[in-house]
Subunit: 371 residues, 2 copies
């Protein structure tokens, strides 16, 4: 007999009734000044075509060529978007209108559709707070910080897996705002890839691996990860290549490709398209992290290793053909020997997996940026 | 002007349309044999009063004294429950009837209301899969594994933050089941505490810190964490003390207490009650992990250190009074110097924070268990 609960106990358990720290945050106070992050003195980054399109989107609204439908849709996810400002406000509020409510099963709504905020100048940023909102709703207004009045640099991250129609940042009515302390004055780093690149399944936006690297390297990191849809299409490469200036391209799209052959064929074409406008910009090709179930499969890690080797050879062929500004990195080792504990579902990293990825990538990226 | 989306793009972004790995898993196949985990040969643990009450609950259904209402309700969350079995089935399915659907904002539904499964004998368990279900529903039926036919030990973890009315494990109709390979033959370790102990906010149940320690120590770890409600009440201590046998008590309830004085007053009483039936069982008192915002507060970490000191002194007083089987551990250092990156909201650890906590606790617990 399967055990049954007693009738008197059949109701859902609601931890938020008993734990204030689990409840959603209250609405903003009356004396609040609302700022549009796209207008100064706050600075926004992550949406490379914002100046022309005026929407929170990761690809051009009207690309020269038709994009794959999935890329076109997922470009509206705001992964990698940031708002930076300097303020003496003792309060920080957010008013957000999403494209839709959170609904993923293996990602917290805070990561899928929430914002988080870090306090501190570039190089000294520390996580401070995350939006606690009613995740059944597509709109929310929440208080993020209640702190002592002093000047602080704030960095807010946009949601990873939902779109944002509108966002406003609220500060105390009598507080001042300034542009943030400048980061390193270089063009952004661009990360092209999969759901893993996009940040699935971090618990909050600041823990996607490009966001961790942005803090450590003190540079803007554009997130061009497309869940299930990073497949190295030439039309996507052509859209990406229209970015004015880029300090580094990271190509991390192995996990979404159907085969080693697909990688062999797409990498040379993708790189050639980028090279038309970015002749000497460093490019780093990264192969996929392991899947948890490899240890249990009859062919083990053979498929992943075959794809890894295909990418290594594709990069070496480009180097041999006279392009020294491209490198390959084996992603297999990024998450460590206990990589199987680092994902929520066998393939998507948790905050644990993302920190490991950033730990592994940081020295490689530093070497490229310093050379 | 705040940017508006174009009318043609106003729909919610749905990554599951484009990424099969993000979608929910299909229903079980027809030729499935359904097992009740409370009947052999599978073995269930985590519900210390199951034999008398026949419900998935962490406290007695009819305790001798009335429990605090919140503890009584949260006891129905199934944190720490496990099902272990050995089977040659190439498929593993689950049929679950929850007390209510997932709805937390800073925890993935997979952690709040899902199950995960590890493959391997004690000491060699590796995470394999998690339930991908429709998180708007309170019931689900999902496929967890599709693998080669061979004998495997499987360990499934119950949800951390919701109740389970019914659960059945499905295997292929022609597969066999045996009891699992035995763990170390000792009574369970009991962890009493807060939402952090309960597993908020792990992405999946196997990443709550007591579950990580259960794998590493190859022992049953009972999870008696009560979100917002771990306050060291004597009636809770008396209920816990009715557990037949216990190898170790961990008291980790600092974060839910209102003050240092509350800890000073409750620890001696709580320990005295446990000692009535467990005179020489080791007890470890652990103070809370840091809050992210301590670095920004005028009083910094003073409040946490005061409470830490109160607990240290309470433990030392009990030792001085002639009880050598109690120890204190400063929880401040468990999550490391960058502890502020290890939580989703400044207080609840992510999988990253939980792994750090387990890393710090493991050698201390090993020393106690080996001595």
């Amino acid at each position: 007999m399967t055990p049954q609960t007693k009738a008197t106990e059949s109701k859902a358990v609601d931890a938020t009734r008993f734990d204030p720290a689990m409840a959603t945050a209250g609405k903003a106070e009356a004396d609040t000044r609302w700022l549009d992050p796209s207008e100064g003195p706050a600075q926004m980054s992550g949406f490379a075509w914002f100046d022309q399109d005026r929407i929170y989107r990761r690809m051009p609204a009207t690309p020269l060529e038709v994009l794959p439908q999935s890329v076109d849709s997922l470009a509206n996810c705001t992964a990698g978007g940031t708002i930076r400002l300097r303020t003496d406000s003792p309060r920080l509020m957010l008013r957000v209108e999403l494209r839709g409510p959170a609904r993923m099963v293996h990602m917290a709504p805070t990561g899928e559709a929430g914002f988080d905020v870090y306090i501190g100048e570039p190089g000294a940023e520390r996580f401070a707070s995350v939006t606690k909102f009613d995740s059944a709703q597509a709109d929310y207004e929440v208080t993020l910080l209640n702190v002592e009045r002093r000047w602080r640099d704030l960095t807010l991250h946009f949601p990873l897996y939902q779109g944002v129609n509108r966002v406003e940042v609220g500060i105390a009515g009598d507080a001042s705002v300034e542009p943030p302390t400048p980061q390193i004055d270089e063009p952004p780093l661009l990360f092209y890839g999969t759901s893993i690149t996009q940040g699935g399944c971090a618990t909050r936006p600041g823990m996607a691996y490009p966001a961790i690297l942005a803090r450590r390297l003190q540079r803007v990191c554009l997130n061009l990860g497309f869940s299930g849809s990073g497949r190295g299409e030439p039309e996507v490469a052509r859209a990406l290549s229209t970015i004015d200036a880029c300090r580094l391209f990271v190509l991390d799209y192995d996990a979404n490709c159907p085969s080693a052959e697909h990688l062999q064929q797409t990498i040379p074409v993708f790189v050639e398209i980028l090279r038309e406008r970015h002749a000497t910009t460093p490019i780093l090709v990264v192969s996929r992290v392991p899947s948890a179930l490899e240890f249990d499969r009859p062919d083990g890690d053979a498929t992943r290793l075959e794809r890894m080797q295909a990418q290594r050879e594709a990069v070496e062929a480009i180097q041999t053909a006279g392009d020294p500004a491209i490198q390959f990195l084996d992603g297999s080792l990024l998450m460590g020997a206990d990589h199987y504990e680092c994902t929520v579902d066998g393939s998507h990293p948790t905050d644990l997996g993302f920190l490991r990825m950033a730990d592994g990538l940081e020295p490689v990226l530093r070497q490229i940026l310093d050379s």
